[in-house]
Structures are given as C-alpha cells and as structure tokens.
C-alpha cells in the first residue's frame, strides 16, 4: 500500500480544533507509520515488560517485547530485575524461546555462548581461536537503557531520555495506586494469561478499553444474555467519567454495577474490608471499576492486566493476566476470580471466546477492513471535546461516554511522532 505521508513528521495526521478531533486512517494502516511508532513510541517510552511476581527467585525469567524488540526479563543473582535483548551477541540468534522458566545460564543454541542470569557474559566458546584481546567489548546481552519497577510492574526503555517512571505516570499514579491497593498488602500476583490475537492495529484495543460509548452497541448480545440469566441488571444506569492525561494515559471510570447477585455478599464484604483499611473516603474513591491505560502497552482492567503487543500494522496480540490480590482474604479472591472466569459480568471471560470481549475483537477486524480502503480518510474522535474539564495541567476529565481518553492518546502520539 502506498504511504500517505512523508516520514519526516506525522503531526498532520491528527487534527484538532476546539470542536473537532480527527485521526488520519493511515495511522492505522500504513506500515511506514507502524515502523515509526515502534521506534518513536515503544522504544523511547516506558514499556511494560512483565511483573515481579513472575520472576520471584534468582534465575526466574520471562520473555517479552518492547515493540518489536524481543527481551528477556530475569532476576539476577543480585536479586535485581534485568531486561536484556533476547539476541546472542555472536550472530543475533534468539537465546531463549520459552515463555517463562528458571535457568542457571542463558545458553545460545547456535555456538554455545552463554550468559549469566542478569544477562552479563559468562563464556564465549573456543576462545583460543580468536585473535588476542578479541571480544573484550562484549560484556553481555544488550541491556535495556533503563529499567524501573512500580508496584511490581516492570517497565523498560531503549532511550536514555525517558523521564523517571513516576514522572512519566504523573497524576495517573494516584489511580494506579488505587488499583493496586485493592490488594490488602498492596501487591498482586499475576496468573497465567489468556492469549488472543486480532487482525487490526494495536491502537484499536488501546482505544477500546477506555471507550464507554460502544458497550450498548457492540455488547448488546452479551448484556441481553447476562440480564436474561439474571447476573446483570440492565436497569442500573451507567454513570462515571473519563480521564485523559499528559503522556497518553487514560481512564474509563464507572461504578461497579456488574456484580452477579450470588457474589454480591462477598463484594459488599470486600468493600467493608477496604473501608476499614483505608477509611471511608479513600475506599470510596478506590472501589469503582476503572480501566486504566498506561500508554503505550498496558491496561489495568477489572482485576486483570491487559498487555498489548503490536506485531505489524494490522496484527496485534493481547495478553490478559488475572491477578491474585496478596493479603486479601481467600474467599474474596475466589469471588473475584469467579466473576472473571465464569461468564457472569461484563468483566468476564476470555478475549476470544468470552461473551463480551470476542465482540470487541470482531469490531477491530471490521474497523481495520474499513480503514484499509484509504479513501475514508478521517477517523472522528470528537465526542465531548467541547466540555473537557482541566483537572490540572496534566489531567482532563469528561463524561463517561466521551472520546476523551482516545484524544489524550493521540495528543501524546503527536508529541512522540510529530
């Protein structure tokens, strides 16, 4: 497909006036733009690469990616988290193909070069056959420029110019804390994920998770089914708000209206437990349903992490990791998991076979198909732009169905790509 753009800058692809906001279709379909996104956004931002609970002991590792860069996230003998490019310093061969595990050394299968658990070089084989002093520049796998951990979430960057992680989160930090404080000791353990893929651009999922408007259309069959079977009350109105942040982050915030009746007792008890732990005001602020986007590749959903992995301009992988709340009573965790694992609420189920999420994935493929024509040029994201409220310099708020989080995403997109 022909590129619509010159690659020196992409700022013209997002248009904003006080009453309108539009994004050019090529932003979803042009491979050249996708390449630039991987370099300018993913490699130069803070990307989520894993959670500390996945690598608790020295030698534990998981593989992951920063954009298209494959990485190994491991715990070294020093007890610290290390993020290294998953490519041998000899011929670039992928060193580790397992999703997770524990090793003494990472050994390249090609010529046997090996690396310590932190990625530093252990051994170059057949040293005697190299010129004197050769290879002293090779210290280990290429490591990420920066690695940082917040509330157990491991982030990596391939730029030295990223701000400190907490500064990157900015005012979003408060809401991230609310999310993690749902666990009584403040931390979570991530569980085995659901794994899904769809034929569409990565930003379609990113936009959708904080889109409060689509549910009454896309999820009509799921809502009808849940109400027919008595686990969702359609009479409860949807209220709440949206939030958008400098940095591209966003939030959809709604009351927790989709508690199935047979779990209501546990959720009420849980609310009282949180009130006792955090006081009335804070627990009230906390105990709402929030979908939180940490731009560019992580979303904190209802008791699960959603990780968005771009593959190509029209192919995306989504991982969803339910979490166990550490320190929270077992029967509360069980109720939360029942709600997630059984099809009883709008938070339930797998991204591909669940009653709710499967319909989103279908819409992404449909959007991608429509956008690929190239002649429907502008995607419109203007709902509620005339009533955005500045909470602070870095935070805006809007009504629950406004396309505000999506605008914040693209305002940041322009800053990074422009």
């Amino acid at each position: 497909m022909a590129s619509h753009v010159n690659t020196s800058g992409f700022s013209g692809l997002v248009r904003e006036t006080p009453s309108d906001f539009s994004v050019h279709a090529s932003v979803y379909t042009d491979p050249a733009i996708f390449d630039a996104e991987m370099r300018n956004i993913f490699e130069r931002s803070w990307c989520y690469v894993g959670h500390e609970s996945e690598i608790e002991k020295p030698g534990d590792f998981r593989t992951s990616a920063v954009g298209r860069i494959p990485v190994i996230v491991s715990r070294g003998d020093d007890g610290k988290v290390h993020v290294n490019i998953n490519a041998c310093r000899h011929r670039g061969t992928v060193v580790c193909r397992e999703e997770h595990g524990n090793v003494r050394f990472f050994v390249c299968p090609y010529h046997g070069w090996s690396y310590h658990r932190d990625g530093s070089l252990n051994n170059i084989t057949d040293r005697d056959n190299f010129a004197e002093g050769w290879g002293t520049d090779i210290k280990g796998l290429v490591s990420a420029n920066r690695t940082a951990v917040y509330r157990g979430m491991i982030f990596a960057s391939f730029s030295d110019e990223v701000p400190p992680l907490e500064q990157h989160l900015g005012p979003l930090k408060k809401y991230v804390d609310y999310w993690f404080d749902h666990a009584l000791n403040g931390s979570v353990r991530v569980q085995k994920p659901w794994r899904a893929t769809y034929s569409g651009n990565w930003k379609l999922q990113l936009e959708n998770s904080t889109d409060g408007w689509h549910a009454r259309y896309v999820h009509i069959s799921a809502l009808k089914t849940l109400s027919q079977f008595g686990t969702y009350n359609p009479k409860v109105g949807w209220t709440g708000c949206t939030r958008g942040f400098t940095g591209g982050h966003g939030i959809l915030e709604r009351p927790r209206i989709d508690i199935p009746p047979d779990l209501q007792g546990e959720f009420d008890e849980y609310e009282r437990i949180l009130e006792k732990q955090y006081g009335e005001q804070r627990s009230k602020d906390m105990f709402v349903r929030r979908h939180i986007t940490l731009f560019p590749n992580l979303q904190l959903m209802e008791f699960k992490l959603r990780v968005i992995q771009p593959v190509s301009v029209n192919k995306t992988i989504v991982y969803e990791y339910p979490v166990e709340l550490i320190g929270t009573q077992e029967h509360i965790n069980k109720a939360i998991h029942t709600r997630l694992l059984k099809e009883v609420s709008i938070s339930s189920g797998s991204p591909v076979s669940g009653m709710v999420n499967a319909d989103d994935v279908e819409i992404f493929a449909r959007s991608q198909a429509g956008l690929t024509s190239g002649r429907m040029e502008w995607v419109r994201l203007a709902r509620g732009i005339h009533r955005e409220v500045a909470v602070s310099d870095d935070e805006l708020s809007g009504q629950d169905m406004d396309e505000l989080p999506q605008r914040s995403l693209y305002r940041e997109w322009v800053r990074r790509m422009g």
Partner: protein, 169 residues
C-alpha cells in the same frame, strides 16, 4: 446391546458423530440436552490447569452452555455471520467402561468458516480455519441413555494467541 452393557467402540462413535452433527447443523438446543445436569464442556488453555482458579478458553457448566447458545441466537457480532463448522472425528478409543460410565478418547479436526464478506475485505471472514484437538469424553448412562458428563477439547494451539473462537467446538 443389553440394557446395561458397557459402551462399545461402535456405540461411542455413533454418539460422537451424532454430537458433531448437532453442532454442525446448528441444532444447539438439542446439543445442550446431551449433557448431564452437572456436565462440563471445557477447552483448556493449559491442559492441567485448574479451571476453577485459572484461565480457560472455555469452561462451561450447564448454565454457561445455555448462556452461550442464547447469545448465539442474538445479534452476537463475533458470530455475525455465524461460523459454519464441519467436525471430522477419528482415533476413537473406549478407554474404560462399565455399565454406568465410560471414558472415550478421540481426535477431532474442525474446519470452520464465517461466510458473508463477499468483497473479501475483512480478515477472518470467508477464510476456512482448521482446529485440531485431542478430545476426552466422560460419558454417563442416565435412564438408559449415554450423556456427556465431561467433554474436554485440548487444542494443539491452546497456549498460543488465538483468533476469535466464539462458536461451539
């Protein structure tokens, strides 16, 4: 066959073919009646995971199966157009059997396609896909009829990122 004789392989095959036909012919309300009241239909994402505590592709009790069929009768976008399926069943073995219960293994190849995109624009539509799996059935005799107490479909790509599979396997 006497009233309480163990399940033969021929009978097992006939049962599995009949189940497949009900799915492929979209007679899902009838398919629901094949299960025992406590019957489970499961598609694990990891074969030995605990489905009550960990993620599954599907893990349906009677209520959930009914919901799934109910949703398929609504305007369920992921199934609009609906998947057409053809089940091929092979390698049927009756592992253990008594007069009241039998464990049956088989392999299944399901070819699935969603029609309806006549401009061939949308990936995933008008493209046949195949799903290969090992299946395990626990059948139980109730009022002289064999029913499904557990159907487990172990896909070869169960632990990899999957495309939409919001149809009955």
């Amino acid at each position: 066959m006497t009233r309480n004789s163990p399940l033969t392989r021929t009978e097992a095959e006939a049962f599995l073919y009949m189940e497949a036909r009900l799915i492929d012919e979209d007679k899902l309300e009838e398919w629901l009646t094949l299960f025992t009241a406590d019957g489970i239909y499961s598609i694990p994402s990891e074969e030995h995971a605990d489905p009550e505590a960990e993620t599954s592709i599907m893990y349906d009790d009677a209520n959930q199966r009914e919901k799934r069929v109910y949703q398929l009768r609504q305007k369920h976008l992921a199934q609009d157009p609906r998947s057409r399926t053809i089940h091929y069943i092979s390698n049927v073995e009756v592992e253990e059997t008594g007069p009241g219960e039998a464990d049956v293994r088989c392999n299944v190849m399901i070819v699935e396609m969603r029609p309806g995109d006549h401009q061939m624009l949308q990936p995933g539509l008008a493209e046949p896909r195949s799903f290969a799996a090992r299946c395990r059935y626990r059948l139980r005799r109730e009022q002289e009829v064999w029913r499904i107490a557990h159907k487990q479909v172990v896909l070869i790509n169960r632990d990899l990122p999957l495309q939409n599979i919001s149809f009955i396997l």
